[in-house]
């Protein structure tokens, strides 16, 4: 499968858009007219369609196959959501229209807020974060603002982060000038209250925990940990990446969470889109609610008002232009309305059941770092079972491609050696799970029976064979340079 770059097939004079050339007129450019060629070849419409349709066919997608990516949660993306987000009343309104002309949009935001706060049992929702990592920053900013309000900016500098955390957690903390202090997990894969107790103190601003954690285990001590941190004057940031395991069944607010971002795509099915756009609204506890960023949605009787003033109350300011990812809000709301409370609970149950089913069926073949214990929505294996086979986790992953699967998440979390993290989600049928399990068993047996060559050569049936990532990084070619290659 080959498709040239558009720069190799386009012509500067070709356009797939008809725009009428204006009549001559006196310009108002103040002498700042662009003079040199831009370097943007165009394609006619039929060529454009073909170019992108052909490119698309080089992609794997949920719609075409299972995507067992642990912690990334690739679930079904209903097309109803796409249709709703495209209603002119949502897609064709400007963020700065008079608020009297967008009351329905504000009401949709209010309803989304109601659902998310009910599911989390928390106090306030910051709508503007553009993605999960942006939500983390937002939550930590609220925490930092609360600490500043208490006059403890200079003394509370530490953020506790477990070793199994996603890299965004320490990165976000560092960005705000916090120091990261690592907290170990026990042999059972979870953080123990005792270890937190010995790490916590008056210098601790917050703890960042993911729950269920990235090993697919529920942090059983979460209530005690929250208490420890709060009693020490710190805040509890919960990474909501794995909310999809417990949505409708357990409420983070009940565990003492102060701030949690919610990746709408993981729990509420907004499409991943090859890497975005995301949306990461942040739920805040009563302790942090006053520090929510601008804008703030306020109901005044029949009327909804978006207060955009960065000086409003104790709000910590603005973290993005306008009011958040409206298009994603509509999709997530459509998903929640479709499920209802019970449906969301059922989705969580099915996700967890499916992960445990995969775990039970792969038992005896693959090795697990924390033994054979009940998992939540994802199941973690390591590469101990492959030792001596000459097959690495990467090799195994690439061989899955030749079987028609996207690999599971590999080498994450870092706490498991050669990690393989499988999340089937609630969107797979039992037949699909059984085929996946059978395929993994068959591949696994091949790996153990010495057929390592097959794995080293994989993938062979993909649009590309293994790509040289070292070359790409050593001599970065980041744009088309006119025929160079």
């Amino acid at each position: 499968m080959e498709e040239p770059l558009l720069f190799e097939i386009g012509r500067p004079e070709t356009s797939g858009v008809d725009v009428e050339e204006p009549e001559p007129f006196e310009d108002c450019l103040g002498g700042l007219e662009r003079q040199r060629p831009i370097g943007l070849p165009g394609l006619s419409e039929p060529e454009t369609l073909r170019h992108y349709v052909r490119l698309s066919r080089m992609n794997y997608s949920i719609d075409a196959g299972m995507y067992p990516l642990g912690s990334c949660t690739m679930k079904h993306n209903p097309r109803l959501n796409e249709k709703m987000a495209r209603l002119a009343g949502f897609a064709d309104i400007h963020p700065l229209q008079p608020q009297s002309t967008v009351q329905g949009a504000l009401e949709a935001m209010e309803q989304l807020t109601h659902w998310l706060l009910t599911l989390t049992n928390m106090e306030a929702l910051a709508l503007s974060p553009k993605a999960g990592a942006h939500g983390e920053i937002c939550g930590l900013m609220a925490i930092k603002s609360a600490i500043a309000a208490r006059g403890e900016t200079a003394t509370r500098k530490i953020v506790l982060v477990p070793q199994s955390a996603h890299g965004t957690n320490p990165a976000s903390a560092a960005l705000l000038g916090f120091e990261v202090r690592s907290v170990p997990a026990g042999d059972d894969g979870i953080v123990h209250a005792e270890d937190v107790a010995s790490a916590v103190g008056p210098d601790v601003a917050a703890i960042m925990l993911t729950n269920p954690n990235t090993c697919g285990l529920f942090e059983r001590d979460i209530g005690r940990i929250a208490k420890l941190v709060r009693e020490a004057g710190g805040y509890f940031y919960c990474d909501g990446a794995n909310l999809n395991a417990i949505a409708g069944l357990a409420r983070p607010g009940d565990f003492g969470v102060d701030a949690m971002h919610i990746n709408l795509h993981k729990t509420f099915s907004t499409p991943h889109g090859g890497g975005g756009p995301g949306a990461g609204p942040v739920a805040l506890s009563a302790r942090l609610a006053p520090f929510a960023p601008a804008p703030v949605l306020i109901r005044k009787g029949e009327k909804l008002e978006l207060n955009e003033d960065v000086e409003y109350g104790q709000g910590f300011g603005r973290i993005a232009a306008f009011h958040g990812q409206m298009g994603m809000f509509v999709r997530a709301l459509a998903y929640m309305l479709s499920h209802g409370g019970d449906g969301l609970a059922q989705a969580s149950r099915d996700a967890v059941l499916s992960a445990n089913y995969v775990r039970a069926k792969l038992r005896g073949l693959m090795s697990a770092p924390y033994g054979d214990r009940i998992c939540m929505h994802e199941v973690l294996f390591d590469d101990a079972w492959l030792s001596g086979s000459g097959v690495t986790t990467l090799d195994f992953a690439k061989a899955m491609i030749d079987e028609g699967y996207h690999p599971m998440t590999i080498y994450f979390p870092l706490v498991a050696h050669g990690a393989m993290l499988i999340e089937p989600t609630e969107s797979e049928s039992k037949a699909s799970l059984d085929l996946f399990i059978a395929t993994l068993r068959r591949l696994g047996e091949k790996a153990l029976s010495g057929e390592s060559e097959l794995f080293h050569a994989a993938p062979r049936y993909a649009p590309r064979r293994r790509l040289d990532e070292t070359l790409a990084a050593r001599k970065p070619v980041l744009r088309w340079e006119g025929g160079a290659t």
Binding site: E13, T14, G16, V17, E20, F25, C28, L29, G30, L32, R36, L40, Y52, V53, S56, N59, S61, M74, G89, A91, I93, P95, T101, Q103, A105, L119, K130, A131, G167, P170, L176, F218, G248, L249, D254, G273, P277, G278, A279, F316, A320, A321, F322, M328, L337, S338, R349, L353, S354, N356, A397, S427, R464, R465, R466, L467, L471, A472, V477, L478
Partner: protein
């Protein structure tokens, strides 16, 4: 539930295989409150959800239904039907971040094309695979300048979009960096050059600026470079780059902007797509994803995400930023629309925008009580109007015209209540302009 493939008999068989009697046993660790604790309504059929959301949508006034002149950082352009069709292809819509490049060449190749297009538009050497939006990209550019210059004080022009300035100030304050903001600069008269010294990491200037003025950045670039500072150039209307001198030709070190106006809907403010370009020498300090060319085991050209050692999933707290999402699908929409336009189409589109805005300005300046302030502009300009602009806009909305953005909505309490930003793109017809003029006369 229509989205759940498992049947009750499937569930029973799976529980048996797992070896538990009830699914609740799997949740023992959570001490979960019973589901009945959630006061949420039951699920709805697709028909019911459509009705519910359509009712909400019907309470909004879509831009396409009225003469429409709002800009101020988000612009209504016509997006070809094929763009939306293509981004809804399952293989684009429902694919993951291309960490497995062998089965993600579609995404990777369009990101590479996108990077090339953005770099060309900005006249810069390299661009990344997109940011959340222009405003967050702008704050990231400031942080990048801090890393490069090892200084922590940014100087913001008074022509920078107020939301962008607020985001930069918020980030800086909480990261314990410093920001100096110049006063709102309505007609591009501020003296930036004299404010630059050796403590400044970067100057952030927008062109066309928030008030619509085009700015020649050469002097400020030269000054920045003399003091070891970087020039960050911002734009919020990407279509302008089809007609005006690009920042890269005026000495900018980082160019960051909003890409919404090419390929993407207004969507009440999001999702949008941030464009981010810089010099090759700074690439390892650049935030966000990068796609690079390489070869596969058979020697065929292919693309991968690269330089990820900058990123959080490798570097953790040493990362260049915490970003692990780009705006993939919006970047694709930008990429496709730009491909359809091509150089000739983009230039024509930009000229058409400018022509429409000039025509509108010429009509408006004949109205008593309305004073256009700009000496230069692309497709948006500032009016001084008699009375309060925000109230005027409300009155005009009631008359069925969305007339523009009152400056006071973005810069409150600054004595700018009589300023109105008016934008005009290719969507505006003679009838639209006539309606605005007529209603403005009536409402003033």
């Amino acid at each position: 539930m229509r989205y759940h493939p498992l049947t009750d008999s499937d569930r029973a068989a799976m529980l048996a295989a797992v070896g538990v009697a009830d699914v609740d046993e799997l949740f023992a660790d959570t001490s979960a409150a019973p589901a009945s604790g959630f006061a949420l309504p039951p699920g709805k059929s697709e028909l019911e959800v459509e009705r519910h959301l359509s009712r909400l949508a019907a309470r909004n006034l879509p831009a396409g239904q009225v003469p429409f002149f709002i800009g101020a950082g988000a612009y209504r352009h016509h997006v070809p039907a094929s763009v939306d069709h293509l981004i809804q292809r399952s293989e684009f819509l429902t694919s993951y971040t291309p960490y497995q490049p062998e089965i993600s060449q579609g995404t990777l190749q369009y990101l590479f094309e996108f990077q090339t297009q953005v770099a060309a538009l900005a006249a810069m050497e390299v661009a990344n695979a997109s940011m959340y939006d222009g405003s967050t990209g702008c704050a990231e550019a400031m942080l990048m300048a801090h890393r490069i210059t090892k200084r922590r004080k940014a100087l913001l022009s008074g022509g920078l979009h107020p939301h962008y300035a607020e985001v930069a100030r918020t980030v800086a304050r909480l990261a314990e960096d410093e920001v100096v903001s110049l006063a709102p600069d309505i007609v591009a008269q501020e003296d930036i050059v004299s404010r630059v010294d050796d403590s400044i990491s970067c100057v952030i200037v927008q062109t066309p600026d928030f008030f619509g003025n085009l700015r020649d950045l050469r002097a400020v670039a030269e000054t920045c470079h003399r003091h070891g500072a970087l020039l960050v150039a911002v734009f919020t209307e990407a279509v302008s780059l089809g007609l005006v001198t690009p920042p890269g030709e005026m000495g900018a070190d980082i160019v960051v902007g909003e890409g919404q106006s090419i390929g993407n809907a207004l969507s009440f403010g999001g999702p949008y797509v941030g464009l981010f370009a810089t010099r090759r020498e700074f690439v390892r300090q650049m935030p966000g994803r990068l796609c690079g060319e390489t070869v596969d085991a058979d020697g065929r050209r292919g693309f991968v995400l690269t330089l990820s050692t900058r990123e959080q999933h490798i570097r953790r707290d040493k990362a260049t930023s915490n970003i692990c999402t780009n705006s993939g699908l919006c970047a694709l929409a930008f990429n496709i629309h730009m491909t359809l336009l091509g150089e000739a189409g983009l230039r024509r589109l930009a000229r058409r925008n400018h022509a429409n805005a000039v025509a509108l300005r010429n009509m408006l300046r004949e109205i008593p009580g309305v004073e256009p302030l700009n000496r230069s502009f692309f497709n948006e300009f500032t009016l001084r109007v008699k009375g309060d602009a925000a109230e005027l806009v409300e009155r005009l909305a009631a008359r069925g015209v969305l007339a523009g953005a009152p400056v006071s909505r973005l810069i409150p309490n600054a004595g700018l209540d009589d300023l109105l930003l008016v934008a005009s793109t290719e969507i505006n017809t003679d009838e639209d302009r006539a309606a605005l003029v007529a209603e403005l006369k009536g409402a003033l």
